[in-house]
């Protein structure tokens, strides 16, 4: 049963609100932490709409596409959104392709990103198992986009990984150039390059006589090719322009 606040409390309430306004970010009202949603949003409207809110927590997702299709940009967006929420994220970089300045420019809080550089595909999968077992990483991205891992990992490995992820709050996302987890994946997203734009001024360090403006944008097309939890596919695809920060 709710009790009406006393007259004295009501009198203090505006002063308390004023004090909180004055102190700004130094003081916050206590509230229980919000329960994480069932999906891990990327912060890109077109993608989140397509995925029904983001990549599923406690599930295994695949992002598949050729070079320059936007796989890494999508992964960085996911990592940036997770770290901005104050969550921890991990990148198991089997391709050893992380460019920290690029990740930072994409908004990833590098202090909250654990970068694991396994020497091979098997070690990468075992690293992912350890990270899922640690219970508390919101996102674990496995980067196999350099290829060559498909032969080293059998279907059973992916099934085991999905089982390990099930029941946790971790969204496991695999980047690759071809489907690897196949039937074990809860969600699969296919990307394809849809164009490039060279716009704006030349590079500040461009040599005299250098041609053309900078590469400023990549465009990708996305298709949701599998969604085990979302029922029938909601959308055939979407276009997602990635612009240069400069």
């Amino acid at each position: 049963m709710a009790h009406p606040p006393s007259a004295r409390l009501a009198e203090r309430e505006p002063r308390l609100a004023a004090a909180l306004r004055d102190l700004g970010v130094q003081v916050r009202r206590g509230a229980p932490p919000e329960a994480p949603s069932a999906r891990c949003a990327t912060g890109i409207d077109a993608v989140d709409r397509l995925l029904g809110g983001g990549f599923p927590r406690g599930g295994l997702s695949e992002v598949v596409g050729p070079a320059s299709s936007g796989r890494t940009s999508l992964a960085f967006a996911l990592l940036a959104a997770a770290t901005a929420r104050g969550e921890l994220a991990a990148l198991v970089d089997a391709a050893d392709a992380l460019d920290p300045p690029s990740a930072e420019a994409a908004g990833v809080d590098l202090a909250r990103l654990l970068w694991v550089r396994p020497p091979g595909a098997r070690e990468a999968l075992r690293s992912a198992s350890h990270l899922i077992g640690a219970r508390g990483f919101a996102v674990v991205v496995l980067d196999f986009a350099a290829g060559g891992a498909r032969e080293a990992l059998g279907a059973r490995s992916w099934l085991r990984l999905r089982q390990e992820a099930a029941g946790t709050e971790t969204a496991v996302v695999v980047l690759s150039d071809a489907r690897m987890a196949e039937g074990s994946a809860d969600l699969a997203l296919a990307l394809a390059p849809a164009g490039t734009r060279f716009e704006g001024p030349a590079h500040p360090d461009a040599l005299p006589g250098a041609e053309g403006a900078l590469l400023s944008a990549l465009e990708s097309e996305l298709w949701l090719v599998r969604d085990r939890r979302g029922g029938p596919l909601r959308c055939a695809g979407a276009r997602w322009p990635q612009r240069g920060a400069a």
């Binding site: 060279f198 590079h203 041609e211």
Partner: protein
């Protein structure tokens, strides 16, 4: 507060240390000798050997004559020292102030004792008896069956512990040793009925006491101090001081720095990794048990090897976060040995660890819960063991113009600032959380190392590209722009001309022309 001292006593350290290192010898009749050969003196024997009639003092040959199935081992100073230190760790797990008693001589040479400050610990353990029982259990977990006694002074506590030694050998194996608590202020009353020899008087003094008919401590207490001093001299007065608790030493000092060490001499030199790992596992198990007893984890592992020919090697193995997981430490040690195998056969192995508190960061109420700090530490250590040193951490942007440069920092997310929040008009509490808007940036995938490329140029610009990642006619191109640096050093000097190109297969790549080597490479893909 009345000073209370506990004594943790292991009466037969030589065989206890041996069984601790070789658990397979437990339950067998065992004698530890001062050297090799049948004439070597037996320093200590196990209860099983004593049960079969082996009595000290005797030689190895005499002991074998009594017990044919007797296992005889030479004493190891390294094992005994490690066991002594482990006894101190057991004590430090229960009290912050503890010290090892000096090694005794003569008949008590096989004894190891630790004194610890037991004042004020009843709040933690319920009672002094509870504290003594917990201490005994901790020692047993480290493979050290010990007697525990609590009294008002070191001497009385040690005497109270020694009082249980006659029944020591008859105790069932694997059972914690007996405990004795002397009532506070009751040291004299406790000692009165005990034989005077328990005070360890010098031989001449013991003889004089016998001559005067003084057999029990109570006989001594009944005599006036002045008369005792006149007849037995300063030695007699010192005995009385021990009994009365006068002139007590200061309480045991605070815990020393946590550097723990275990070592093993191999029966035969080893040149393969597998048998060595077997020995290392046993050493690390003992080491981590000691660390766990003190609530610590291993922050850095030192691996010492004595090689055939007398050479010594020391390797330091970094651990990403303090851990007490034997599997992780063993994997790290194996990795270090595999990477740089020793030059000769190994005769002795030593492992040492700097004990550091396990991670116990305070979680932030306003953040989503991350992994438990201890679990995160273990995970980091496991990942480093799996991937190799220097391959796990938080990425760091390096202050350099060199393309592809990066560094790794220890992963410590607790140090990060809280999520950004902004004011919002009309919000009930005036402040609300919001994620920063996503900045769409052109993302680069680094290629390490950069891939060689065959590039055809026209008027200095690339028109055709062939490489492992991109191939075809260049349909769009921007550049070049120059990146150079490290001009002050011959080794670090670099100068590159970069081009952004899109090939006919749709790949957007960053081309690099090395001005020093005159070679084309693809060093990144836009993705």
């Amino acid at each position: 507060m009345t000073s209370r001292i506990a004594c943790l006593l292991v009466p037969d350290l030589p065989w206890v240390a041996l069984v601790r290192a070789h658990p397979e010898l437990a339950g067998r009749p065992l004698a530890v000798t001062a050297g090799a050969g049948p004439r070597a003196d037996v320093l200590a024997c196990s209860p099983e050997a004593a049960g079969r009639g082996v009595r000290l003092p005797c030689t190895a040959a005499q002991a074998r004559a009594v017990c044919a199935e007797l296992v005889v081992h030479s004493a190891s100073a390294a094992l005994e020292e490690a066991a002594r230190r482990a006894l101190l760790d057991a004590a430090l797990g229960a009290s912050p102030r503890a010290e090892l008693a000096p090694v005794a001589a003569g008949l008590r040479a096989a004894e190891a004792a630790v004194f610890l400050d037991a004042s004020g610990l009843t709040a933690c353990f319920g009672s002094e008896a509870g504290f003594a029982a917990a201490l005994s259990a901790r020692a047993l977990r480290l493979g050290l069956p010990a007697v525990v006694a609590v009294a008002g002074s070191r001497a009385v506590a040690r005497i109270a512990a020694r009082r249980h030694l006659p029944g020591w050998l008859a105790r069932p194996p694997g059972e914690a040793g007996p405990v004795e608590v002397v009532t506070p202020g009751g040291d004299s009353a406790f000692l009165a009925p005990l034989p005077l020899e328990l005070l360890d008087p010098p031989d001449a003094l013991a003889e004089a006491c016998t001559r005067f008919g003084l057999r029990r401590v109570g006989d001594l207490l009944r005599l006036p101090r002045r008369a005792l001093l006149a007849r037995l001299g300063q030695g007699g007065a010192r005995l009385l001081d021990v009994v009365l608790g006068a002139g007590q030493e200061p309480p045991p000092p605070a815990a020393p720095e946590a550097r723990l060490e275990e070592s093993a001499e191999l029966e035969a030199p080893v040149d393969r990794l597998e048998p060595l790992l077997f020995v290392l596992q046993a050493l690390l198990s003992r080491l981590t048990a000691r660390l766990e007893c003190r609530g610590l984890g291993c922050a850095e592992l030192e691996l010492g090897l004595r090689l055939a020919g007398g050479a010594r090697e020391v390797r330091r193995v970094g651990v990403a976060a303090p851990t007490g997981d034997v599997r992780v430490l063993l994997r790290l040690a194996a990795l270090a040995l595999e990477t740089h195998p020793p030059d000769a056969e190994i005769e002795e192995v030593r492992v040492a660890a700097d004990g550091r508190p396990l991670r116990g960061d305070q979680l932030d109420f306003f953040r989503p819960a991350g992994p438990a700090p201890a679990l995160l530490g273990r995970t980091l250590a496991e990942l480093e063991a799996l991937c190799g040193p220097g391959r796990v951490g938080a990425p760091v942007v390096v202050d350099t113009h060199r393309p592809g440069a990066f560094a790794l920092a220890p992963f410590a997310p607790g140090a990060a600032p809280p999520p950004r929040r902004e004011r919002a008009a009309g919000c009930a509490d005036g402040v609300r959380e919001s994620a920063p808007p996503y900045v769409h940036s052109l993302t680069v995938r680094a290629l390490r190392p950069a891939l060689p490329a065959h590039v055809e140029t026209r008027a200095g610009s690339p028109v055709r590209l062939a490489s492992a990642v991109a191939r075809g006619d260049v349909v769009q191109c921007a550049g070049p722009w120059r990146t150079s640096g490290g001009w002050w050093s011959e080794d670090e000097r670099f100068a590159f001309d970069h081009y952004d190109v899109v090939t006919s297969d749709g790949t957007a790549a960053r081309l690099r022309y090395d001005l020093a080597r005159g070679a084309w490479t693809v060093d990144a893909i836009y993705d």
